[in-house]
């Protein structure tokens, strides 16, 4: 080989190698791409690249009627579909001044919390895979599959549900819903506990994650981290408590927090959140009233008045915000989403400074990004 090997660049004294990770890398959780400057096994700098999954969702929303936008929200954070539907519907309802039937609110909360569990189960699965453990992923996927079977029974689809409507729901729950959830909960509890016991306090897992990519509270707030990533730093901030929406103020649950803000804390907080979500589901099932769930709009197209509204909610990945501008037609004039994954991902450069190559996948996994939401 006569020519200089490509990709070896000199920045200052040590010879660094440019390592392109993604978008086809198995551990970048989709089509995220990082360019790493590595000095041996140490990462000295990182340059994130996003946009490989950009579908122009926000622009597409402007061309769809208000009901049709729900399907687009399903496809943003495709691991937390119900949560995404909820925040969009809440935004339009707030603008129109619609009140949602009591029962519909409870159904929404139950489905959202189950979706949170499913999403966090997938997080634990990929966290284990990133750290090299394969068994927890199987356990978690089994649990997630159980939740998704329930979703299928409710909405007809495993993932892209399109079940919430502006002002209510598409239809009432199936008759045996409570029995199904009653059967699901102990199984789900067992799955979560099994994965938790296998992974969380495993010595090797701790060695890989504890103290890796810790972020201080100030930095976390500066980067706009929300959700479990912020709570891992010890900040007790959860919109379900801090700014209750829907009927979240009627349930008793804790907001788990971490201590050090490192990868392990982010994992730990999510595992604890699953137990808390189960508490909420159980309470909601007891409190859920009978009655109508469909919208007072009936079959009419929603046509909100001229105006703008910002609504936020606690997604599994953090705080999602929807800024909606209406001009009085049956389509949104402008719709802007503040995606939690995108804001959390912005800290990656800060987090990955002076880590190991092996840590990059773990840190990225601990942020729990969904590229569909990052790129939109």
């Amino acid at each position: 080989m006569t020519d200089i090997p490509t990709g070896v660049v000199t920045r200052g004294e040590p010879v660094e190698m440019l390592l392109n990770m993604g978008p086809q890398h198995p551990s970048t959780h989709g089509v995220f791409r990082m360019v790493l400057w590595v000095d041996g096994e140490k990462v000295t700098d990182v340059e994130p690249h996003i946009g490989y999954l950009h579908r122009g969702s926000e622009k597409l929303c402007e061309g769809e009627q208000f009901h049709q936008v729900i399907t687009l929200f399903d496809r943003m954070d495709y691991l937390a579909n119900f949560n995404n539907e909820l925040v969009y519907c809440a935004a339009v309802e707030k603008l129109m001044g619609l009140t949602v039937p009591e029962r519909a609110e409870y159904v929404r909360v139950i489905l959202c919390e189950l979706n949170r569990i499913a999403s966090h189960l997938l997080f634990v699965a990929t966290m284990g895979l990133d750290a090299g453990a394969m068994t927890p992923s199987m356990i978690c996927f089994r649990g997630r599959e159980r939740v998704q079977s329930l979703f299928e029974a409710v909405s007809g689809a495993r993932m892209m549900h399109n079940y919430f409507r502006i002002g209510g729901l598409k239809e009432d729950l199936p008759d045996n819903f409570e029995e199904m959830v009653g059967e699901l909960m102990p199984l789900l509890q067992a799955d979560i506990e099994e994965a938790d016991k296998l992974l969380t306090f495993n010595e090797i897992f701790l060695a890989r994650l504890k103290g890796v990519a810790a972020i201080s509270v100030e930095d976390a707030l500066d980067f706009g981290l929300t959700g479990p990533c912020l709570r891992a730093c010890g900040v007790d901030y959860d919109l379900r408590k801090a700014d209750p929406y829907s009927v979240y103020d009627r349930f008793e649950f804790n907001v788990p927090t971490g201590l050090d803000g490192d990868c392990w804390d982010r994992h730990f907080v999510r595992v604890q959140e699953m137990y808390e979500s189960m508490k909420i589901v159980e309470q909601a099932l007891v409190q859920m009233p009978k009655g109508n769930v469909t919208s007072s709009l009936g079959r009419r197209l929603p046509r909100p008045p001229k105006g703008e509204v910002y609504v936020r909610a606690e997604n599994p990945r953090g705080e999602i915000g929807v800024y909606l501008v209406c001009d009085g037609t049956d389509k949104p004039y402008r719709l802007k989403v503040r995606p939690p994954s995108f804001c959390n991902l912005s800290a990656i450069k800060h987090l990955l400074k002076d880590t190991w190559i092996a840590d990059t996948v773990v840190v990225l996994g601990s942020l729990d990004i969904v590229l569909g939401e990052v790129d939109r």
């Binding site: 096994e41 284990g128 090299g132 394969m134 992974l199 306090f201 495993n202 010595e203 927090t257 092996a358």
Partner: protein, 379 residues
């Protein structure tokens, strides 16, 4: 001068028998590899409450055959920017030593291709190091950065863990007063060495896991980080050769564990060459433990791996040699060595582990802190 293999004075008949023997070994090892892949898939499946392969043949028994066929029929891609000669020679360099080791590993007293006598253990250790070269060349020759990283990781890891392996093997050779595999097993007639020298078994097994790159030491082909390491550019038959070598090496580590510590083929009820059943049963038991570990643990990081090698395994293996030497010099009864081994395992192992590797104490610390946190938030 009597060479172990008088190469220049081989008659045609002997030559024929050598070739036939090598072919038989090759076939037997291939069958073993097929059985191991099936066993691994099934066992991992059961650990994860899955069924594992079921569709190909009864209980999925033909799955390894289907896999092998698929791999051979696949297109063999050679990257254009790769160093062709190195790229082609690397799999050979990995797989040939893997087979060569088995020339002198005995199944029973007589069931061995060529008993190299006092060269046996030395030969095995010497050839087990050669495979590293193939991995480094594979990583470098494929002109892929992930491959290069993997190759260099492999070099660092395998050379580091070679030291504890050699040290423990020396200690066992001192106990048996021989490097002859058959003799080492015969010396364990009254009791297997695991009873007098458990420290050796632990060191050898852990270092052996690292040698063959099984979880938690699968650093150099870590799928989630460097996507297969040295093998990243290999496909089809070439990749299957690496795969073959990996499983043969795993089998060799298990076999050596059995031969050096678990009494080899000795066992009740069976005599003569039937003792191979005992040997295989023990080897497969060790293999199952290796697969079990794979189904349970995450992967270490490269710095932790090296720290564990140089700060824990190497000092422990030196300690193993010292206690063996003391035991032999003073001619103490065997149980003293057991005591010293166990004491070493407990005291030195725990102390070094706590001091340098740290995760155990960290786990306890973290657990305590979080329990305190939870009890606070629960109130």
């Amino acid at each position: 001068m009597s060479l172990p293999i008088p190469l220049l004075s081989v008659s045609l008949i002997t030559f024929f028998w050598i070739v036939a023997g090598l072919l038989a070994m090759f076939t037997a090892l291939s069958v073993v590899v097929l059985s191991l892949t099936w066993l691994e898939r099934k066992l991992l499946g059961r650990l994860q409450r899955r069924l594992g392969p079921t569709r190909t043949g009864p209980m999925g028994l033909m799955q390894p055959v289907a896999d092998a066929l698929k791999l051979i029929l696949k297109e063999d891609i050679v990257p254009t920017s790769s160093e062709k000669a190195i790229f082609w020679i690397a799999p050979v360099l990995v797989v040939v030593p893997a087979f060569m080791i088995w020339v002198t590993i005995p199944g029973t007293e007589n069931l061995v291709l060529k008993n190299l006598g006092d060269l046996g253990l030395f030969y095995i250790i010497a050839f087990s190091v050669v495979g590293i070269l193939g991995l480094v060349l594979a990583g470098w020759g494929s002109a892929n950065k992930y491959g290069t990283l993997g190759g260099l990781r492999a070099a660092a890891q395998l050379i580091s863990y070679e030291i504890p392996v050699i040290m423990v093997v020396i200690a066992v050779a001192m106990l048996a007063q021989s490097l002859n595999m058959v003799e080492i097993v015969e010396k364990q007639g009254s009791y297997p060495y695991v009873l007098v020298f458990p420290l050796g078994l632990v060191i050898f097994f852990i270092a052996g896991l690292a040698e063959v790159g099984r979880t938690p030491f699968d650093i150099y082909f870590a799928e989630s980080e460097i996507v297969g390491g040295p093998f990243v550019e290999y496909s089809g038959a070439h990749w299957s050769v690496f795969f073959l070598a990996e499983y043969i090496n795993t089998f060799a580590v298990a076999a050596l564990t059995v031969l050096l510590f678990l009494g080899g083929w000795s066992g009740p009820f069976l005599t003569g060459n039937w003792e191979i059943i005992w040997f295989l049963a023990k080897v497969y038991a060790v293999i199952l433990v290796i697969f079990w570990i794979r189904g349970t643990f995450p992967r270490l990081r490269i710095d932790q791996l090296m720290a564990f090698a140089w700060k824990v395994m190497v000092p422990l293996s030196f300690y193993a040699i010292i206690i063996t030497a003391v035991y032999l010099f003073y001619g103490w009864p065997p149980w003293t060595l057991t005591l010293m081994s166990l004491a070493g395992l407990l005291v030195v192992g725990y102390a070094i582990y706590r001091r340098f590797a740290g995760p155990a104490s960290q786990a306890a610390q973290v657990r305590a802190r979080y329990q305190a946190l939870q009890s606070r938030s629960g109130q």
